[in-house]
C-alpha cells in the first residue's frame, strides 16, 4: 500500500475492565454456578428452553422458570485447541450441542471426560473443576 513517506508503526496495549450485568438471565447463570440446569417453560405452547428463552419462538412472553435433571445426550461434538475467554485457560477442548432431557432446544457447552465425546453419548451438567471468570464457564458436561 502506498502511503507516501514511510509509515510508522507503534505498539499499543489497552486493558478494559467491565462491571457486567447478567439481567433477566441471572437465574440461569446462578444455576450453572450451582451445577443446576435452570431453564424456562412456555405456558402457551409447552416448549422447554435450556438455555432459557424469555420470549418463546411461538411468540409468547408467558414463560416460567423450572429445573431440569441436568442429564442429556450429545447431538454433535467438536474437538480442537482453544482458549477460554478472559480466563486464559488453554488446551484441547471438546464442545458440543447437547439435548438436555426435557428441553426442546440444544445447549452449547464444554464436554469433559476420558472417553471420546460422540453423538448419542450421555452427559450430566456438573460444576467445573476450576474457578470461573464468568458463570458460563462454571460448568461442564461430564460423560456418564
Amino acid at each position: 500500500m502506498t502511503t507516501g513517506p514511510a509509515a510508522r508503526i507503534v505498539d499499543l496495549t489497552m486493558t478494559l475492565r467491565y462491571r457486567h450485568g447478567l439481567g433477566a438471565l441471572s437465574p440461569y447463570f446462578a444455576g450453572l454456578e450451582a451445577g443446576v440446569a435452570r431453564g424456562t417453560r412456555c405456558a402457551s405452547c409447552g416448549r422447554v428452553w435450556f438455555p432459557p428463552r424469555l420470549i418463546c419462538t411461538c411468540g409468547s412472553a408467558k414463560l416460567g422458570w423450572l429445573e431440569l435433571s441436568g442429564e442429556g445426550t450429545i447431538r454433535h461434538a467438536t474437538e480442537g485447541p482453544a482458549t477460554l475467554p478472559l480466563s486464559g485457560l488453554s488446551g484441547v477442548f471438546v464442545f458440543g450441542l447437547i439435548a438436555l432431557d426435557g428441553a426442546s432446544n440444544l445447549a452449547f457447552g464444554r464436554i469433559a471426560g476420558d472417553r471420546p465425546a460422540r453423538a448419542g453419548a450421555r452427559v450430566r451438567l456438573a460444576a467445573a473443576p476450576r474457578g470461573a471468570v464468568h458463570p458460563a464457564q462454571a460448568c461442564v458436561y461430564r460423560m456418564l
Partner: protein, 397 residues
C-alpha cells in the same frame, strides 16, 4: 437483457485495495481513500456528485476507532455529506450495500458511496482478535463458555453431514477451488495451489474442520458508487443494476434452531431478493455467485440455502466441478473468503465489485468465464448465518 429504467439502482463504480495482512504501517484511512477514489473515478463522476455515504465496519476494537463513519467521510473529502455506519458482523459490508440501496430507493438521494473496511488481521494480536470474534455470537451464554467461530461452524456442519451425508472430501473440493481461483486474482490474500489430500492433511482446528477449511482474517477496504440510472454517467461499460435485495435473521444460538445445519436466514433473505428480481428458479436464472465461505462447509450450506441446488446436493455437485469456472454455476471466482480474504466490513462490498466486473466481462484473465453472464448473486452473513444479506445483480443491455 432489458435496457435500464430511470429508477434502476446501478452499480456505477467499483474499487478495492488488495486484501492482505498489511504490515507496512498503512491504515484503514489509506485503504478507504484508495478504494473510494477508485470507485468514484470508475463511475465517471466528480466527488461532488455523491449525495450520501454509507460505511461498513464490524468492530471498533479491531481498528481502535469508534465512530468510523464520521472519520471516513472526512478522510474521503466528502464533508458535509450525510453518513451512516452499518454493522452486521461478517455481513457488515453487505448490509452497508443494502443500506446504500435503500438510501436511493427512498427517493432522498440519487448517488451514494458505499465503502467498507476492516483492520482485522494485522492490528490486534491473533488471540485477542479471536477472543473478540467469540463475542459475535450470544456472548454471555455461548461465547463466554468457549464458543468460537470454528467450533460453532463445525457443529453446524456436523448437523448437515448427519442429515445429508456430506463429506470432508466435498469440503476439501471447496478449498481447492477457492484457493485456486485466488491464484489468478491479484487482490487475493491467500492464493494456493492445493489438492484435496493437502486439505485433508492440514492441521485440525475444530473437528471436522482443518486449517485449510478455514478462511483467513484479512485487512482491506472495498467501495461501490450506487446511482439512479437517470443520474449515472455513461462510462462505456455495460451497466449493472441491483435487481434484488433481501435480509433476514435467525436465532442467534444454534441450539435454538430447528435445523442447526440449515442456513434458514439465508434462504429467507434470498427468497426476498429473488422475488424483488422476478426470479422464480434461481438454479436456472443465476449465472455466477459469490457465496460467504467463512468455512468450506458454509459454502455448501450457503449454495443450498440460496436455492442454487437442492438440499444435500451441493457437496456431490462440488466434487463434480459444477461450481468451478467452467462449471454449471461458477461460485467464488474471486477466491471467496478462503482465497481472496475476509475483512468483515468489506467482504460484501468486494463481492459486489467482483460480480459487477464479471457481469461486465472485465474480470481477471483466467477467471472471466468465456460465456456471457447476465445474473449474479452475492451473499454474506454475520454469525453462523444469523443475519444474512443477499443481493441479485443483473447486467442491462
Amino acid at each position: 437483457m432489458r435496457p435500464p429504467s430511470p429508477s434502476d439502482v446501478l452499480i456505477a463504480g467499483t474499487g478495492m485495495v488488495p486484501f492482505r495482512r498489511y504490515a507496512d504501517g498503512s491504515t484503514p484511512r489509506d485503504w478507504v481513500r484508495a478504494a473510494a477514489g477508485e470507485a468514484i473515478a470508475g463511475a465517471g463522476i466528480e466527488p461532488d456528485a455523491i449525495d450520501a455515504v454509507v460505511v461498513g465496519c464490524e468492530s471498533d476494537h479491531f481498528s481502535l476507532q469508534l465512530a468510523p463513519g464520521a472519520l471516513m467521510v472526512d478522510e474521503i473529502g466528502l464533508v458535509p455529506r450525510p453518513v451512516m455506519r452499518v454493522e452486521s458482523g461478517g455481513g457488515s459490508g453487505a448490509n452497508a450495500l443494502r443500506a446504500g440501496i435503500l438510501h436511493i430507493l427512498s427517493g432522498l438521494y440519487r448517488c451514494v458511496l458505499v465503502v467498507g473496511f476492516e483492520h482485522a488481521a494485522s492490528h490486534l494480536a491473533g488471540d485477542d482478535a479471536r477472543a473478540l470474534y467469540a463475542l459475535s455470537f450470544d456472548a454471555d451464554v455461548d461465547g463466554m463458555a468457549g464458543a468460537s467461530a470454528a467450533a460453532l461452524y463445525a457443529l453446524s456442519f456436523q448437523d448437515h453431514m448427519a442429515r445429508f451425508g456430506s463429506t470432508m472430501e466435498q469440503c476439501a473440493a471447496v478449498s481447492v477451488k477457492n484457493h485456486g481461483n485466488a491464484l489468478k486474482n491479484p487482490l487475493a490474500h491467500k492464493p494456493l495451489a492445493l489438492s484435496i489430500a493437502d486439505v485433508l492433511a492440514s492441521r485440525p482446528i475444530s473437528t471436522p474442520y482443518r486449517l485449510l477449511d478455514c478462511s483467513v482474517i484479512s485487512d482491506g477496504a472495498a467501495a461501490v458508487v450506487l446511482a439512479r440510472a437517470d443520474f449515472a454517467s455513461a462510462t462505456g461499460v455495460p451497466r449493472v443494476r441491483i435487481a434484488g435485495s433481501g435480509c433476514a435473521a435467525d436465532h442467534v444460538r444454534l441450539g435454538d434452531r430447528a435445523e442447526p445445519g440449515r442456513f434458514a436466514s439465508k434462504a429467507a433473505a434470498s427468497r426476498a431478493a429473488y422475488a424483488m428480481a422476478g426470479i422464480d428458479d434461481p438454479s436456472r436464472a443465476v449465472d455466477v455467485a459469490e457465496v460467504y465461505d467463512s468455512f468450506t462447509g458454509a459454502e455448501l450450506q450457503g449454495i443450498e440455502a440460496l436455492g442454487l441446488c437442492a438440499d444435500g446436493a451441493a457437496g456431490p455437485a462440488m466434487l463434480g466441478g459444477a461450481f468451478g469456472r467452467d462449471g454449471r454455476l461458477p461460485v467464488n471466482l474471486s477466491g471467496g473468503l478462503l482465497g481472496q480474504g475476509g475483512p468483515p466490513g468489506a467482504v460484501g462490498i468486494a463481492q459486489a465489485v467482483a460480480v459487477t466486473r464479471l457481469l461486465r466481462g472485465t474480470y481477471w484473465e483466467g477467471l472471466q468465464p468465456a460465456r456471457e453472464l447476465r445474473v449474479g448473486v452475492i451473499d454474506s452473513h454475520g454469525g453462523i448465518a444469523t443475519v444474512s444479506i443477499v443481493h441479485v445483480l443483473e447486467r442491462l443491455s
